[in-house]
């Protein structure tokens, strides 16, 4: 996954770039830049632009009415609920996992790290499927759930579970390398000075990892709000009830209601852009504090 390390201060500085011996002739430079920009335009900028163009194709009025539509609003609400539950749970998990893995040595650690990564490697469709196998009508707990009039699949709990699964590793993956790099000197110093476990966590560890933590939360949140495949399997697509924003987009699109579909999509695209801005800000702060540590 991408990490904070991408913004680390480049050793390759501008002074060297001007050096003739280790740079390319101008025509090579501009050809390469042009090729990269063409690639990014085809695959990145145009789709982004298309979302907003298509959304506004039928005018602002259509656009706004598509967004204040009751189904759209309830889809937004459900999306926020799912993220609001999944993000804090995975946050707590991420801190606990990183604490155990970064501060202690134990057998099977690398297996644990690999297992935490598992959800990255699992197709979202399969992530949905496994919960159907457990909580679906024919699943392990299906009979019991229906006897007690409880619903997980084709209901909100299933959507939340699928969302937790697909966003499972994000916080842990950010924190583990960060906390490993920071070592345990400061925690030991706090311990010698008499601090309790929770005092160490709150006063020493968390302030040190706050940027990595925030970064992980931003990534988790973006994925939680945007997840489609896994949620699609467990949702049942009940309008106004079990539709998240991405599912709402799909339904409108399949009904050939393109303007409304793209209007809803544009909200998600805006969220994605906000995510990128926040991410850049956090990376900037994290790089700044990393530089401060390097001088340490």
């Amino acid at each position: 996954m991408s990490g904070i390390s991408t913004t680390q201060f480049s050793k390759y500085n501008a002074k060297i770039a001007k050096n003739r011996a280790t740079s390319e002739p101008a025509w090579v430079r501009w050809t390469l830049i042009a090729a990269a920009l063409l690639y990014l335009s085809l695959f990145l900028f145009m789709p982004l632009a298309a979302v907003f163009t298509e959304a506004l194709r039928k005018g602002v009025d259509t656009y706004i009415s598509a967004l204040v539509d009751a189904d759209a609003l309830s889809a937004m609400k459900l999306t926020f609920i799912a993220a609001l539950i999944a993000v804090p749970l995975n946050l707590v998990f991420g801190v606990a996992a990183a604490w155990a893995i970064a501060k202690f040595e134990f057998k099977g650690k690398s297996i644990l790290i690999t297992l935490i990564d598992l959800p990255f490697a699992v197709s979202p469709v399969i992530a949905g499927l496994i919960y159907v196998l457990i909580f679906g009508l024919q699943g392990w707990f299906g009979q019991w759930l229906s006897d007690h009039d409880l619903k997980v699949i084709f209901a909100i709990p299933g959507i939340v579970l699928a969302t937790i699964f697909v966003t499972f590793p994000f916080v842990a993956r950010e924190l583990i390398p960060l906390m490993q790099a920071q070592g345990k000197d400061e925690e030991e110093a706090a311990l010698v000075l008499g601090a309790s476990g929770w005092q160490i966590l709150w006063r020493v560890t968390l302030p040190n990892i706050k940027w990595g933590l925030l970064y992980g939360v931003i990534l988790t949140n973006a994925r939680a709000m945007g997840e489609f495949g896994a949620v699609s399997v467990v949702s049942g697509h009940i309008r106004g009830l079990t539709n998240t924003m991405p599912l709402h987009v799909e339904i409108l699109y399949n009904e050939y209601n393109y303007a409304a579909a793209f209007a809803a999509a544009s909200v998600l695209a805006l969220l994605a852009l906000v995510t990128l801005v926040l991410k850049s800000i956090v990376e900037w702060y994290a790089a700044r504090s990393a530089r401060a540590i390097e001088q340490n």
Binding site: D185, E186, A195, S196, R203, N296
Partner: protein
Amino acid sequence: MSIEIRNVKKNFGDFSALNDVTLDVPSGELVALLGPSGCGKTTLLRIIAGLEAPDAGSIHFHGKDTTERDVRERQVGFVFQHYALFRHMTVFENVAFGLRVRPKETRPSDAEIKRRVHELLELVQLDWLADRYPPQLSGGQRQRIALARALAVEPKVLLLDEPFGALDAKVRKELRRWLRRLHDELHITSVFVTHDQEEALEVADRIVVMNKGKVEQIGTPQEVYDNPATPYVYNFLGNVNQFKSNVLKGEASIGGLNIKLEKENQQADGAALAYIRPHDIDVQRVKSGSAPAFEAKVNYIHAIGPLVRLELQQLGQDAIIEAELTQERFRELGLNTGEQVFIYPRNVRVFADNTASA
């Protein structure tokens, strides 16, 4: 408070970091654990602090067994090698930390904390840095803040892990004198770890020389320097010339010479290693008297500084012998490279050569 360490063992996997270490640190002394990296000195310090648990053996503070006691209850001050200052806290908050995390009933009031922290910052002469953050400080300043932080909890024992290791040469010299003065003021039982013999010799009341998880010698700087207990200590403290030798009836043969051994330095007959400090070698232009002497050629002369170092080659041998003369003596002799001289060893120390018999 005195520290007694009894038969402490510690392994990391197959690696034996500490192998049956027994050691007393008298109350109020400043003791150096001296040895090369990997000799177990830092592990021992961390075991005293309670940051590691020994596999066997026990630690006593003033006669009381503290082996099982939690690090938080040991009342030790620990200065980490890289200081481990809390980088998101100001200098003031760093020093105040140990007081602030106390349970409510024993926590001093804010005013009291403020008073104590400023007192400590004055002690380390850095009161003016209270509002800075650790990354804004120089290495020497961080070192002193780390010390102030450790002292804030009024520890009974102060432990310092390579306290000057990360500093440049000039700051290091200043700081170690300062630490010595501070210790003379506070008289808190202190143990510091170092790999720098000069540092240990200058600062400590007592030096513990360690090697491969064992204590080689314990003594005052004078004792360990003048009377090394083992070849290892000889090699580790100061420059030394080493010769393969053979002991027979109280005489050691070195490079064809038979040298009578002092009473306090007798060895059993057999293969041995002989050691002579460079400043215990006298150089003469002509052979005089009956004392045994080598004939040697002057290979190089390094005449910078108060001492002149000569690199001598014994005639008919490959061995290079190093000698140190005062500038005065050197001028008196008026030596040039390539000349032939006679050298007279004094204070020859001999140890049984275990490698040869093995």
